[in-house]
């Protein structure tokens, strides 16, 4: 197969553009205010060296008007205390009241009363001049903390901390907790803050003691999905609570609820991106992944597995999930895929993303996009990766398949600068990784992500399950898709996808693997079904596109041709716990697609199986690849074996050993990275979940068509797209679906 260079370049270009926002704290926007030019120059240089984005102002009044014009233009403000046109404390106060941004004061005067004043006026830190570089390196914590604290403000508002003034305030002094009773400004400040926060009862946190009076808003999957949709529509960067609220149009929901939820969401994204980033640079896609991700049945991801894989610590995932969703519900249908799932997926996604490339796969999704959890799915069945919407940002240009959008294969960087990015797994969207194989993903990300192995994680896996939309979570990651895996990276298998879409299903995976390996794109869909995989994106092999909502499962597979096969995504939708393998065979070797649940064991060599719910699609893991562990949960792919025929050897499915256990989810394992083209699908033999439209790969779209395969399954629909698999997860050299 010719190498997919397209994918590569696509991937890399994606990376360029996506890089900036995802790398928080790099690129954090700081407004520096000081009338002393010498100091202004020095501090500015230091901030630039910390890789922040700096704007300087020598007049407080000018600074204030800049902020009033656009309060989102900055994340943090650093201001001198003594200025001729306006007292620094006054500026501090105004900023806090009007824009609610963190402000750090600085002065050469460090007398206690001065610092105390800073504290009481709500400064989140106080730096003494001369400011040292080391002190500036950590100031981003205030931005993060602020968001966290905002949520808990209620709890803190009444705690006055006395004695704080005795020492320099160098930590987050929450507005609410500043000492101060006597100081007018601070008092007013506190009150205002408290009042605002009191209303915020959208409490996703587990504990929110102080908001007992207000009826709590439960962020159900549906609600979250709406939220995600709204955020996506607005763009994560521009999503303000008020607008989100308007778009959501939910009676009884208040701006504060939305604000609080948004904060959590951003933080969540940030965390995901953080995790993802962490993994960036993993070169070895899949292989590295721990292949034993087990998807718990029903989509519960096996956090452990995930954790094991190192991707995201279970607790984090769980926590994140919890955070975002009030209660995980596995409703299918929701694009949002069960929330839990989604979360998982998202989380996973992150993982996934990181996988290999660190793809921000997850992020991309998240970015801004709020992963809308697969909105797409809904139409399809599969929750379609709603996430695609998430990807929106990323994709924006994509077709919007929703899914597609989602996945833009992001380059791993994607770490969204905003917290949002990252796979957000929006609750709604998520693909439940749990379900789906997310497990794979994550770990493997492989899925894709790295190209090779895409596993699409689950994501989607989640979905499929009944109702869940699987989304592969991946959304970003997920699915392994590798989202983007975009495959990121050049050449790697991309698997795409996934991003978000991954997979799964529904989403179009755009998996596209970039350049490398095939990936599935899942984007949305991978594989699944229905979505289209737009795989193809990057030239790499690939993948699938799911065009159809695929669901691949069943379908796809076979098709892909080319050498690599894409693997259909496997969705593993295990719907019902039985995981059947869907063997999507890759085509060349076997055309048969698996649709129908196949349990195919992987043939040696070439077929990658995708496990799809209900079927586990064996990624072509060589021969055994998937061992279906019986229903649910996944079938395990034994990666190493799986080799999809590729010469490359590495099998898409999670690197060889992917255990895809997604019971629910489809495992969209797409093994094989696409060789040559970015196959969306998993490498050879990989099964591509239905529809992968792989550019190069000839996949039988029609084969996949649709989903047909499974419609019967609940959840699993491969058609549903939910295949967890997005697109082909290709591990190894085999076609991996590249997701883009």
């Amino acid at each position: 197969m010719p190498d997919m260079s397209v994918g590569t370049s696509y991937a890399s270009s994606k990376m360029e553009s996506d890089r900036a926002p995802d790398k928080f704290p790099v690129g954090m926007k700081v407004l520096l205010v000081d009338d002393d030019l010498t100091c202004l120059t020095v501090v500015k240089r230091m901030l630039l060296n910390c890789q922040y984005d700096v704007t300087t102002c020598s007049e407080a009044t000018k600074a204030l008007s800049l902020l009033r014009e656009n309060k989102h233009a900055f994340d943090l403000i650093i201001s001198d205390v003594h200025m001729p046109d306006m007292d620094g404390f006054r500026l501090l106060e105004l900023v806090g009241l009007e824009m609610d941004l963190p402000v750090i004061m600085m002065s050469v005067d460090t007398r206690v009363n001065v610092v105390m004043k800073g504290v009481s006026h709500g400064a989140c830190d106080f730096l003494s001049k001369p400011v040292r570089m080391e002190e500036l390196q950590n100031i981003w914590q205030h931005v993060v903390r602020r968001k966290l604290l905002d949520n808990k403000e209620n709890e803190h508002s009444s705690s006055m901390e006395e004695g704080d003034g005795c020492r320099q305030v160098n930590d987050d002094s929450e507005y609410a907790s500043t000492v101060n009773d006597g100081i007018d400004g601070s008092w007013r400040y506190q009150k205002k803050k408290r009042d605002t926060k009191d209303d915020d009862d959208a409490d996703l946190d587990n504990a929110d003691p102080s908001s007992s009076k207000k009826p709590r808003v439960v962020w159900s999957v549906e609600l979250h999905q709406q939220f995600v949709n709204a955020v996506n529509q607005l763009g994560i960067d521009k999503a303000v609570p008020k607008r989100i609220l308007e778009l959501m149009n939910v009676p009884g929901l208040t701006r504060e609820n939305v604000a609080s939820h948004l904060q959590k969401f951003r933080l969540y994204l940030k965390r995901l991106s953080g995790v993802a980033h962490h993994h960036t640079g993993l070169n070895n896609p899949l292989c590295g992944v721990s292949s034993n991700v087990k998807v718990g049945q029903l989509g519960r991801l096996d956090f452990q597995a995930l954790a094991a894989s190192g991707q995201i610590p279970p607790q984090t995932l769980a926590a994140l999930q919890d955070e975002l969703l009030d209660c995980p519900s596995h409703s299918l249908g929701m694009p949002a895929v069960n929330q839990p799932v989604i979360q998982q997926s998202s989380i996973q996604g992150t993982n996934c993303v990181t996988f290999e490339r660190g793809i921000a796969f997850g992020h991309p999704l998240l970015k801004g996009q709020a992963i809308s959890s697969f909105p797409v799915w809904s139409s399809n069945n599969i929750g379609a990766v709603g996430a695609s919407s998430n990807l929106r940002e990323m994709n924006s240009s994509h077709n919007n398949n929703m899914l597609m959008t989602m996945l833009k294969p992001r380059d791993p960087h994607t770490v969204p600068s905003e917290p949002n990015h990252a796979i957000n797994v929006q609750p709604s969207c998520l693909v439940t990784p749990t379900k789906s194989s997310n497990t794979f993903q994550a770990q493997r990300n492989s899925i894709i992500l790295n190209q090779d192995s895409i596993l699409v994680p689950s994501q989607s896996s989640s979905n499929f399950q009944a109702g869940n939309t699987v989304l592969p979570v991946i959304q970003d990651s997920v699915a392994i898709t590798s989202q983007s895996s975009a495959s990121l990276k050049a050449g790697n298998n991309a698997f795409s996808v996934n991003h978000r879409s991954t997979m799964f299903p529904s989403q179009p995976l755009t998996g596209i693997s970039l350049g490398n390996g095939p990936g599935i794109l899942n984007q949305t869909s991978i594989v699944l079904p229905s979505q289209q995989l737009n795989s193809s994106e990057a030239g790499n092999n690939c993948i699938l596109l799911n065009q159809n909502p695929m669901s691949v499962p069943s379908q796809l597979l076979s098709t892909f041709q080319m050498e690599k096969n894409i693997i259909p995504v496997n969705h593993k939708t295990s719907l019902s716990n039985d995981s059947s393998f869907v063997n999507y065979n890759r085509l060349p070797a076997r055309p048969n697609n698996i649709p129908s649940i196949m349990e195919q064991t992987l043939d040696g060599g070439s077929d990658n199986l995708c496990a799809i719910n209900s079927y586990s699609v064996p990624v072509s893991v060589s021969s055994e690849v998937l061992s279906n562990t019986g229903n649910v949960a996944g079938w395990q792919l034994h990666p190493p074996d799986v080799n999809i025929g590729h010469p490359n050897g590495s099998l898409g499915l999670g690197p060889n050993s992917c255990n895809i256990q997604a019971t629910d989810a489809l495992l969209g394992i797409l093994p094989d990275r696409g060789q040559g083209k970015g196959l969306g699908f998993v490498g050879k033999g990989t099964c591509l979940p239905s529809r992968f439209a792989v550019d190069d790969i000839e996949y039988p779209n029609n084969d996949l068509a649709n989903t047909s395969a499974y419609s019967g399954d609940d959840g699993y629909i491969l058609n549903q797209d939910i295949c967890g698999i997005n697109g082909v997860v290709q591990s190894g050299p085999c076609a991996t679906t590249g997701f883009k």
């Binding site: 010498t38 001369p130 570089m133």
Partner: protein, 151 residues
């Protein structure tokens, strides 16, 4: 002078400045911030400092010579001077400013005038030293060498 000697001289000179407290660690930080993409950073900042300081010192002289001294204004200027000198590491200047501020608070004109004299002296000293330092750097660069890192 050959390059080696120039470099040694530079090192000695800088060490002495640090030892005597004319410059402190902040100056070293500035030097660290300078790199290929910002080759004149230190010079740029120091130049800003010179300009600002001279303006401030003039203002201070003027204000303190009034019949009725506006100590708040004096204090504001001193504060400013203190900040900028701290930013470049002109330690002695900064130290004098601290004492200066105390006199301002006490509204002690005599004390303030005294401090003003001292601050001017210290300022001129540090200015002179820095100019020598830059000259040495130029000489090293002209001789084809690179400036020794003092950290």
């Amino acid at each position: 002078m050959d390059l080696g000697s120039l470099q040694r001289r530079y090192i000695d000179f800088t060490s002495a400045l640090l030892r005597e407290g004319i410059l402190d660690g902040q100056f070293t930080q500035l030097q660290q911030l300078q790199d290929e993409s910002n080759p004149d950073f230190v010079l740029e900042v120091v130049t800003l400092f010179f300009e600002d300081s001279e303006k401030l010192l003039n203002e201070l002289s003027r204000t303190l010579e009034q019949q009725v001294v506006d100590f708040k204004k004096v204090d504001a200027h001193v504060h400013q001077l203190k900040g900028s000198s701290a930013s470049i590491g002109a330690q002695k200047v900064k130290d004098v400013c601290m004492a200066f501020r105390n006199y301002c608070e006490e509204m002690n004109q005599e004390g303030c005038l005294n401090c003003l004299r001292q601050v001017k002296d210290q300022y001129l000293l540090v200015k002179n030293k820095l100019e020598t330092l830059f000259m040495l750097e130029q000489q090293i660069l002209a001789a084809g060498g690179s400036i020794p890192m003092m950290w």
